[in-house]
Symmetry: D2
Subunit: 245 residues, 4 copies
């Protein structure tokens, strides 16, 4: 079975590693991000299994159009990675309401909207004409997987990072709520807490041991996709072995 995956918020680093790994496992992968030149060059590198869909995740109409394009090119979505996050690294007195809102829109609101689009494919309608399934067992979809990328600040509000922490908590609350709502209906919702810095793809670092290898992170994302429905994980943490935590 060829699965269709969407990585929302792909960039050099972890997003790219996830996309590469999913293609290597036989998925068709749609790359959603604002930077057109980057995702088109990545898609070209990945070949026919990849599709660049330039999307500003803060704009609902762009997300809607992106999923339409994905369905047209690759069919219904089976796997979604909500990977975007943003936010000025500022304290609660210094962050503006606009910066606060933007961090939440990129992380939580885009995460909800992308999930709604994906759930339409994963659950299908149930023939009652309401446009959404109601869990009565007549849904036509065959399930799927939605993974949210979290951070240390998803579980521990960080001093000096009010907007980032609050948005990351919002994403986690959304993921937990969705896991409880859609697990019984065949959709696996998971949240990964990445606790540490990810090794930068474009420059050497002094102590590489102190960073998470993005390809190794992608192993755990793929493990989540492959988990049997009798043993689904809601949350796992990942960190370098030398990380203090």
């Amino acid at each position: 079975m060829t699965r269709t995956a969407v990585v929302a918020g792909v960039g050099p680093g972890l997003g790219e590693s996830i996309a590469r790994r999913f293609v290597a496992e036989g998925c068709r992968v749609a790359l959603l991000a604002r930077t057109e030149s980057y995702i088109e060059s990545l898609a070209a590198d990945l070949g026919d299994a990849a599709l660049a869909v330039p999307t500003d995740l803060t704009r609902p109409e762009e997300i809607e159009a992106a999923f339409e394009e994905v369905r047209r090119e690759f069919g219904p979505v089976d796997v979604l990675v909500n990977h975007a996050s943003g936010g000025a690294w500022k304290g609660a007195r210094d962050v503006s309401l606009d910066e606060f809102e933007r961090a939440w829109r990129v992380g939580a609101r885009a995460g909800l909207q992308c999930s709604q689009e994906a759930l339409d494919d994963m659950l299908g309608g149930d023939g009652d004409g309401t446009g959404s399934g109601d869990g009565d067992g007549t849904e036509s979809g065959d399930g799927g997987t939605i993974v949210f990328t979290g951070a240390t600040s998803s579980v521990r509000g960080r001093d000096g990072a009010a907007a980032f922490s609050s948005a990351k908590f919002a994403v986690r609350g959304l993921a937990e709520s969705m896991a409880r709502e859609f697990g019984p209906r065949g959709v696996h919702v998971a949240h990964v807490v990445i606790d540490g810095g990810i090794r930068p793809p474009d420059r050497a670092v002094e102590n590489p041991e102190e960073y998470l290898d993005p390809d190794a992170i992608a192993d755990s994302y793929w493990h989540l996709v492959e988990q049997d429905r009798s043993t689904w994980t809601l949350e796992l943490d990942l960190r370098p072995h030398v990380e203090e935590f």
Copy 2:
């Protein structure tokens, strides 16, 4: 010392109990809420120590004006209770982006903005002309207390309540981040997890034991205000003794 307190999001039930208790302890209390008739009647009942300030907490300019009025009438703010929350009780497929955003604005964004206003009074400027303190010890404020009202869904994303859960998580992440940032600077930030239904003020219930008494909750809010700075609580939970949890 007469303290000035702001209860943002006061209504019959817990908000009112907090306001009454704070007045009884000698505070001047500003009541912020949208329903003008209700808060004016409550203020009239509470006397000179209370001030009704009709405010739509989703409107930044109204929050700004409200705090100006509070300062003009009652002086700088010493205690803030971020008590508002909102959100359609819907699952992640059924909630609209607008409903999702509104729940977050009432809880998290208004909580941030009210806190920013209060922090200006609690921390003061530090004479460096930047308009915000920088923690170098020259701040002129004398500290204060900010309490956020949370719920079961603040710590456990609830099935079928995506917007409410996500907004409540966002508030908790903000509170934790602020506690770490402002504790060392003399502002006590706390988060109360109310785990259960609050006894309704206006009607009898069949099993009153199953509800939290809002006056009893107000005892714990006041305890947080009174805690010595050597022993500050970030989070406590409250529930009826018969609650299953």
Copy 3:
């Protein structure tokens, strides 16, 4: 109403502050600890409301005898503070099995046994001849409060403190289980996470702001005892305002 309280594991510092505060609130307080000279001198200082009961909390027969003496002198127990903890501060490779066991016995096993003794008084029998209540509503006791003293390591296993962390987690698991079992039957079980060093009673410290004031901690213990049964707290944390966490 004069309440009878037992502080199991009293010493200079927090245990003593709790005992003093409870006496000041009108309780009769039994002081259980191994160091006879210390608790007798404290009891003499506190007057008729205090009773020194020398007890090695690692010895079940001594705990049993201690509660018999408390009942004989002060009547049935209404409040219990499980305050003892112990454990070599060693890593998992260096701690011996005996040290590991001793830390657990002082914290968790003594905590269970003291609670069993107190629950006999708090719940009473229910007349079915089995010697323990079964929650069918016919129990004769009038409830009570059991507070466990926890630490940072109760919620976060500490590097280099395997025995202490494991024992503190064991205590917290016991407290949570008991809170769920006995809350509906009228016994309030709470767990306090003390996150930081307690100000030493017998010497000056360089930066007193960095320590918790034991008298201030005792305020929160008393608040727990006084909470209305409609709003019981299972867990709260306490730390100095300058603590990094």
Copy 4:
């Protein structure tokens, strides 16, 4: 590379699935449990890669002898699964101190002792004659993996299961402490929260969807063993997709 694994507390069900999976991945696997006939029959079925070592995990001298035998037959230990747990399913008033202690000994104390034995192999000595490494970089071992099996009650003390909950919390505290202590020295310590019933190997169940498949659980255990040291997981949860949680 052929790895030597020890499964401490193997039985029909998850322990056996783990052993089978590890053998399939090329490990030599030592099976430690009290029931001699069962583990010998399992070892016979698994062939030369398996070794039955009858061991009562409540007896320190038997654990010591077991690891000696494992080393003699299979060489130094690379992977340890601390899988045993025990405990009467009783409330805090009804459980005896002996039952409480036994649950802790099987889970926490045996977990510590087996880990100490395994760490000797994983870390080696460091040539300073003290018999234990000190993390100064001269240790001779090449690291390894220690996985603890947890349960719902590891993170949520259960009503009516005081001994089980307390022992499971104790195990989790030990695992967290060890993860922080030994991660930087090359040993991956992980804790798996199994949230639900495991499908019984020996009888049909009415609703198989409600159970975790032990072979599928073993997939996640193996994933933990295989994780790159730049991305180690401390904790993950596993549950059936229909589980309410």
